[in-house]
Symmetry: C2
Subunit: 219 residues, 2 copies
């Protein structure tokens, strides 16, 4: 396993492949070739073979991949064989929307806490029953609830302060939605979701209609 | 201009460069080298030079780029010199959060309408004053308000129906947050934001702590 060569784009594609395999499995499909998978899900078959080759020999030439075995392998590679426990800092519209977002409450992930500074919100729960705590209690709750991934949806002005609190609480992986550059110590993975970049990419496409729609991450 | 070669990753980096240049401009910096820009904003200087070379000769060897000129060029390349008008379909927590999101209401973008089917929401406005319309009025409002980009935040079950309505209303660029694969006719750009993929990438990192944090899109 040549893990040192794996780029973020590769791991993101592995996520997509896993989702496709789960759909095939639900539909009773037992084996699939990279070509059939590529056709059904609008992927690139050479890319599939290359991405999977990083992690070993999964397929059988002329037969394809065992759907359930490959799904198990990808689940393990992505660290989804043990469940991650998430918290969200910032119980505004975005924080609440994410707390209820299907993808954040499915196999592999469980949303266990929100944090805020608003006395009106503290002590209540979201519609789906996730408790909202005072951000002053971040560290004890993170420790008690075994939270290992934090999502930051606070305003930009306070985002660095919140990230510092998360690092001090021992969190090693952070997904940041605040449109601001944040610093973390080495050994902590900070990933930013920049929604304006997505819009600007659409703007580029509208301004260059002669350019065929560039390839997205496979869906 | 070799626009046929431009990948989505390149245009996303151009967005990032533009943001960096705007910061430099606000700080009174008039020229910057790719190396200085890379150092200050944690980017890759060779990548900056390569990305910009697609669009012509901007820099002067030994001097660097004119901050304001390069910002103007990137603004034009990204189609941000004319303002885009956005609508959101789905006025739930996520739709409301995005309607108020800074990046969706800044230079280049203006949020002008939300659509929903909930009679309690129709006829009201968001906190920031964006009107919420009946989705039955999608086409006339899109035409009247000159909307050219739509954001989809409805539940997965109805997302395809809403995208079909948007296409019928003449929308050419769609940003989809529903965790489902959607079909559009050719000539329409559909971009998906898949937040679960982001989480799974963090999960991979947590499972492989020996792997140094893979490079994100430059922040």
């Amino acid at each position: 396993m040549k893990s040192e060569k794996i780029s973020e784009l590769t791991t993101k594609r592995l996520s997509i492949y896993l989702r496709c395999l789960q759909i095939l499995d639900r539909n009773g499909i037992q084996t699939v070739s990279s070509r059939a998978m590529a056709e059904q899900f609008h992927l690139n078959s050479a890319q599939i073979r290359k991405d999977l080759a990083y992690f070993g020999e999964f397929g059988v030439r002329g037969v394809g991949y065992s759907v359930s075995h490959l799904a198990q392998h990808l689940t393990k590679i992505l660290g989804l064989d043990s469940r991650h426990r998430l918290c969200i800092c910032g119980a505004g519209n975005l924080g609440r929307a994410l707390a209820e977002y299907g993808g954040f409450n499915s196999e592999g992930f469980q949303m266990v806490a929100l944090f805020d500074t608003d006395a009106k919100k503290i002590g209540t729960t979201t519609r789906t029953g996730v408790p909202i705590y005072d951000i002053k209690k971040l560290k004890p709750i993170v420790v008690k609830e075994n939270v290992d991934i934090a999502v930051v949806t606070v305003p930009s002005e306070v985002a660095q302060k919140v990230v510092d609190l998360l690092c001090a609480a021992g969190i090693k992986a952070i997904l940041n939605f605040a449109p601001v550059h944040l610093r973390v110590n080495s050994g902590i993975k900070l990933q930013k979701v920049d929604l304006k970049v997505e819009l600007e990419n659409l703007s580029y496409y509208l301004s260059n209609p002669s350019v065929s729609a560039p390839a997205n991450l496979p869906e």
